[in-house]
């Protein structure tokens, strides 16, 4: 292994596989030309894994698209060069290459693992045919041979029962399985360079880890170079040999992983590292001190069950038990987090607590009152005291409303105060969430994702509720913005003694904000314990698996080992 590594690094000095120099890429828009990548230079040595890290809009995906010649129709390479080494002879210039010439490079010499596996496979074509096509277009297999080789590739990509899968359609496979199909397609023609564009962002943490492990295994084995595009510094730290940090279209930092994380020279990199939840030392949290519960619990949930009917199969109707005998309490001033992967029932539980859905069985007590069957005015009264902040701030604000209308809508709904008082309250609220008062006149589209989520929080606070349910409140945000929003939630809690029910799939985020954490799987609450205890000594195998999957953990473990030895 070390021999291989030294050999490849020796090669990298002599001749990199990919050398990008002074690359400029811009997009034509209605408002003129928009520069997306400015003077980017980088090299990837044979067998090297290089990660490009940056937030949305940093130009990292555009850079990758330029390398493989897949820029959107309005994008163009304005200057610089992209040179890809050939097996023999001098390196080949890819910038300005014709579409037709690029065809023999895509797939054959540069493979792509795309971002979202759920939409990246042709829905009306069988899996096997889609893999076989990657071989056929480069003449690597004939009509008879290709399907057989495709099954072989699916097996190499780690897909169980590849023979059966080859005959299935994409919708019959899970997200993780589809990503393995896309990996099979990417490695089909044995390209020497793989571009992985956020290959696992759309997947659950444990699946993410297995997929990344497999990509690593395959590429190390075959000496394939990888250009890994990611927003997650933790993933980059775990997987790459070298990290490049992009910001505003420029590469602001380039170096080995340890150097970048240990002594970042660029201030932007420092911010990024400071806000990466997985890399952050656990002591630096934003929690208010643990609450003192003089009164009873604010929320008490007893043996909550929610069944969803399934489509009729052969005349009999089954049910899906989304929430299965879940019990917990939330105290004033406390943050209780529910974590789990998609389908674990955490969001359904939150909806039941808010009474946005009706439980099949069990009880919900709010401030001592049974609200399980509350209707009409009692139900409306609950709306005043329990509010919700949604995952996606791009979809949860009415685009036709001004920010002031968004924030005052709950006040208007409950006829709290006069119009003038409502306006004053709105000004107070946006100030509370650290936005300038001038945003009140603007519309949600004019705001960034982080600003929108602040508006959503302001709206949730308008009626001074006791409980705020936060359903993945930061998942759609960039890490540095995530960090700000989490800090804000912490401050608001300390100020007003708010209780949070915090739903998240991201354990690193949960660790920063929660006093207690419940782990959910298949509708059941596996364990519910104080945060530190859960992270230090998880009681369930599944919890351990989730913890191990936190990106950045591997890097922290390595540095820890290096420090002690």
């Amino acid at each position: 292994m070390s021999e291989h590594a030294s050999k490849s690094s020796a090669q990298s000095v002599a001749e990199p596989l990919l050398r990008v120099e002074g690359l400029d890429v811009s997009y034509r828009t209605t408002g003129g030309s928009l520069s997306a990548v400015r003077g980017a230079s980088l090299t990837v040595a044979p067998g090297e894994v290089v990660a490009i890290v940056g937030e949305s809009g940093s130009g990292k995906t555009t850079l990758a698209q330029a390398v493989i010649g897949l820029l959107p129709a309005n994008g163009s390479v304005d200057g610089g060069s992209i040179r890809l080494a050939r097996q023999q002879g001098p390196a080949e210039e890819l910038a300005g290459l014709s579409e037709k010439a690029f065809r023999s490079i895509r797939g054959r010499r540069i493979g792509l693992i795309p971002q979202d596996p759920t939409v990246s496979l042709n829905p009306v074509q069988k899996i096997g045919a889609q893999v076989a096509e990657a071989l056929r277009v480069h003449g690597l297999a004939d009509r008879r041979r290709a399907p057989i080789d495709a099954v072989e590739l699916l097996a190499r990509a780690g897909l169980p029962e590849p023979q059966v899968r080859a005959g299935q359609y994409p919708h019959e496979l899970s997200g993780g399985m589809r990503q393995r199909v896309l990996i099979a397609i990417a490695i089909a023609a044995s390209p020497r360079l793989l571009i992985a564009d956020e290959p696992t962002s759309a997947l659950d943490a444990t699946v993410q880890r297995r997929i990344l492990d497999h990509i690593e295994h395959l590429t190390r084995e075959s000496g394939t170079s990888v250009l890994l595009i990611t927003h997650d510094l933790g993933v980059a730290a775990d997987r790459a040999d070298r990290i490049l940090v992009m910001s505003g279209g420029r590469i602001v930092e380039d170096g080995p992983v340890a150097a970048i994380l240990g002594s970042p020279s660029d201030p932007y990199t420092q911010t990024l590292i400071a806000s990466a939840p997985g890399l952050r030392p656990p002591c630096a949290d934003t929690r208010a001190p643990a609450p003192v519960s003089a009164h009873g619990p604010l929320v008490e949930v007893r043996n909550l069950v929610k069944d969803f009917p399934l489509p009729r199969v052969n005349g009999s109707r089954g049910v899906l038990r989304a929430v299965d005998e879940v019990s917990f309490t939330i105290h004033r001033g406390e943050t209780l987090a529910l974590v789990g992967e998609s389908g674990s029932g955490k969001s359904t539980t939150a909806r039941l607590v808010l009474r946005l859905a009706d439980p099949t069985a069990g009880q919900v007590l709010f401030d001592g009152t049974d609200i399980t069957t509350a209707k009409g005015s009692a139900w409306r009264a609950l709306r005043r005291r329990a509010q919700l902040v949604y995952q996606n701030p791009y979809a949860s604000l009415d685009p036709k409303f001004s920010v002031e209308e968004v924030v005052t809508e709950p006040l208007r709904a409950f006829q709290v105060g006069s119009a003038a008082e409502q306006r004053r309250r709105a000004a107070d609220l946006v100030e509370k969430v650290a936005l300038p008062v001038s945003v009140l006149a603007r519309r949600p589209v004019e705001l960034s994702g982080g600003q929108r989520q602040r508006v959503a929080i302001a709206r949730a606070l308008a009626l001074s509720p006791d409980l705020v349910v936060c359903d993945e409140p930061v998942s759609a945000l960039d890490v540095s913005v995530q960090s700000q929003v989490l800090d804000l939630l912490g401050e608001l809690q300390a100020e007003a003694g708010l209780a949070y029910l915090f739903i998240s799939h991201d354990l690193a985020v949960v660790r920063r904000v929660a006093h207690r954490v419940g782990v959910m799987r298949d509708g059941r609450l596996l364990e519910l314990r104080p945060t530190e205890e859960l992270f230090d000594a998880p009681g369930e195998d599944y919890t351990r698996e989730l913890l191990a999957a936190i990106a950045g953990r591997r890097h922290s473990a390595q540095t820890l080992e290096a420090g002690t030895s």
Partner: protein
């Protein structure tokens, strides 16, 4: 699946009943009746005596109360009997059967033209990287949809028959007489196909799975035909029922312009003298075609889209 079919057939029967009832009501709300139309001397020039008129009305049941007439006609229709033409006494079923073949000919030819022309415009418009050509081809269909069918027919006759003398302007003899009517009929329909298909093709070409195909090294033509077209055909298939309806409606105008026999001409003649049995027979027949085509589309869907076959998409 069986339950689905039962529901669809029940719905189809409902649609046919509604078509029958609405056409009955509309025809009876029109002023006058067919007997009066005939009596005004439109047919053989000689006005009839009031007594003869009453006798005629009694013969066709027109002297009965409306509800009785409706009940009788519905009962007969349920037995496949739409009565006889008031104008010439021919059985309605036989009249439709006789008028059908030439209409089927131009409808199929028009449909073929519409699919080939509409499909070609949509494919080229989304394939070409020449900006002006793309914009022209994208704009063309909305222009063609808004052209009146009779005007297109007259223009084609003017150009190809009178000036160039290439094709016959009237009649139904030989395959060459089919060309102009089929083009006239297929042009607005083809424009509709082009509009829907071009829109859904350009949507599909933005899908991430097209990027996956390009990243494999698949060429543009193959991506267009192998990956995009089949996905884009699904929304286009939805308007197929509408397209067939368009063709039937268009045949009324086209057969008149080109003086061809067929269902359209029969309709025009029957409406002109309020020949209620014939008009109703045609309306119910057209509704049946419509229902059958839509049922067919629903059955084809799962074949084209595996997600529906296994019930993954609801």
């Amino acid at each position: 699946m069986a339950g689905y079919l039962v529901r669809r057939v029940a719905l189809a029967i409902g649609v046919l009943w509604a078509a029958f009832t609405v056409s009955f009501v509309v025809l009876y709300l029109l002023p006058g009746d067919p007997v009066a139309t005939m009596a005004s001397g439109g047919l053989d020039g000689e006005p009839m005596s009031p007594a003869a008129l009453d006798a005629l009305r009694a013969r066709y049941g027109l002297d009965q109360p409306l509800i009785v007439q409706y009940g009788t006609r519905l009962w007969d229709a349920l037995h496949g009997n739409f009565g006889a033409s008031i104008q010439n006494g021919q059985d309605v079923g036989a009249a439709i059967r006789e008028a059908l073949p030439p209409t089927i000919q131009i409808s199929l030819a028009g449909l073929a033209f519409a699919i080939v022309f509409g499909g070609a415009v949509a494919l080229v418009a989304t394939y070409t990287s020449v900006r002006w050509l793309r914009q022209l081809l994208m704009a063309l269909p909305s222009l063609a949809v808004s052209l009146p069918v009779f005007w297109v027919g007259l223009m084609l006759v003017q150009l190809f028959s009178f000036q160039l003398g290439l094709l016959p302007s009237v009649g139904a003899k030989g395959p060459e007489s089919l060309v102009l009517p089929a083009v006239t009929l297929g042009l607005p329909t083809g424009a509709l196909v082009a509009q829907v298909l071009a829109k859904s093709l350009s949507d599909v070409l933005d899908e991430p799975y097209v990027v996956t195909a390009r990243a494999k090294g698949v060429g543009r033509v193959a991506i267009h035909l192998r990956h995009a077209l089949r996905n884009a055909a699904l929304p286009a298939l939805t308007v197929f029922g509408y397209v067939v309806g368009n063709l039937l409606a268009g045949s009324v105008v086209v057969e008149t312009v080109f003086t061809r026999p067929g269902l359209g001409r029969l309709t025009v003649a029957a409406v002109g003298i309020q020949d209620i049995p014939v008009v109703q027979g045609i309306v119910v027949f057209a509704a049946a075609v419509f229902v059958a085509v839509n049922l067919l589309v629903d059955l084809i869907y799962p074949v084209l889209d595996p997600r529906i076959a296994t019930g993954a998409v609801v």
